[in-house]
Symmetry: C2
Subunit: 236 residues, 2 copies
């Protein structure tokens, strides 16, 4: 009997669907009935995570835990948060429920370690960067973190907020090639897309080569945790 | 205050994500928080709908109503079923809950009528075709239905089951152009993609021109029913 996955979503809504699709495509199944039972809460009342961490914006924890409890009440056995920045609040969410909550940065770190990566570039929101959401997971896996220069980090934020969330800037107007070059110039062997909006943009731009999609790493771990077989041997 | 949408999903899982993405992209929103709250139940225990209608397979109604009630308990104000064939069981689902359940064939019929269509080709599962799921909605809207020839209908089933659900046949191996030609030869002005797996295949194949995506018609109606503004004036 496979377990039921619960997705604490809405951060953003498109990233929620992206995780769900990755879980579906990574599940070995020949019919609808062989797929994993999933419950999703696209909770758009969850306040902006970066604003809470950096600018004293409204605390996301009450809505995060409300979604977590709602999903467990509806039958979820394992929870997932398709938002890297939200992992700053991971302990609060994990404490609120009695079921396991998968940890996206740790799953990404495991995939990097398995691939023998020693230095990884991290592309994420200002909130994730400044709060050090990826620091602990990568350092524990023996991997050195590299971040973009301040100017390039501002472009990463523009890609996330204007390019994907708001769809107010064409993706092509953001110098994504320069961002990657900056990290590779610093010695990054691989680049982690550590914001769930980024793989959406990178896939559209055809720039996934050499990048680890943290959403896909989480999806891969979720399929295995649910007790299903994966369609690929690793999340790369 | 916008209403919460509840998605009775898993029929198939990819079609569930497709509906959710269409709702998200049709919602006018500049931030995560301006999107519609959605709950989804990717209930993979729902038995095959076509098998139930045509071959006495297990009845999908108990699992459909279980999902409907689960979503309403979790807070859904309006329910959606991203599976055209499942609309054969629409009355049973609608009776099981006290909230409105949107009706995909009726939404598709409304979009065809608004576009002045008098003769529409319908591409659907054998279950949807034989049970006449689209008949009533289109006839009430004053639209004549045209179905593919038996040989072409067999190819539609292969596209749905092997091409999309099972991913065991490459989409290019199915003569989709011939299917469309058959309907247009019979006088179809537009073609309704009346199985939620079909828009996924047609979009990949670049064949959406002249086709109404019933999933998109449902998404469009859902955004309006939830109280949000749409990003497009109609579902075409």
């Amino acid at each position: 009997m496979k377990k039921t996955l619960g997705v604490i979503g809405g951060m953003g809504p498109a990233a929620t669907c992206d995780l769900m699709e990755k879980i579906i495509s990574l599940t070995r199944a020949a019919s609808d009935q062989e797929h994993i039972h999933m419950l999703a809460d696209v909770n758009t009342a969850i306040p902006d995570r970066t604003a809470a961490i950096l600018r004293g914006g409204p605390d996301p924890v009450p809505e995060l835990t409300k979604s977590a409890r709602r999903l467990v009440s509806a039958g979820a056995d394992i929870l997932l948060m398709p938002c890297n920045t939200a992992h700053y609040f991971y302990d609060d969410v994990a404490r609120a429920v009695s079921v396991p909550v998968l940890h996206m940065p740790r799953e990404a770190a495991a995939a990097l370690k398995a691939a023998g990566v020693k230095k990884a570039g991290v592309l994420a929101t200002d909130g994730t960067v400044r709060a050090g959401v990826y620091e602990k997971a990568l350092v524990e896996a023996g991997i050195e973190l590299l971040y973009p220069s301040p100017a390039m980090q501002a472009e990463v934020m523009r890609l996330i907020y204007d390019g994907v969330k708001g769809r107010s800037a064409p993706l092509e107007s953001i110098p994504v090639g320069d961002i990657l070059q900056d990290l590779r110039g610093q010695g990054a062997e691989k680049v982690v897309l550590a914001c769930t909006e980024l793989p959406i943009a990178f896939a559209e731009l055809g720039l996934m080569e050499g990048c680890l999609d943290a959403t896909r790493a989480l999806a891969f771990a979720a399929v295995r945790a649910a007790g299903a077989e994966t369609t690929a041997p690793d999340p790369w």
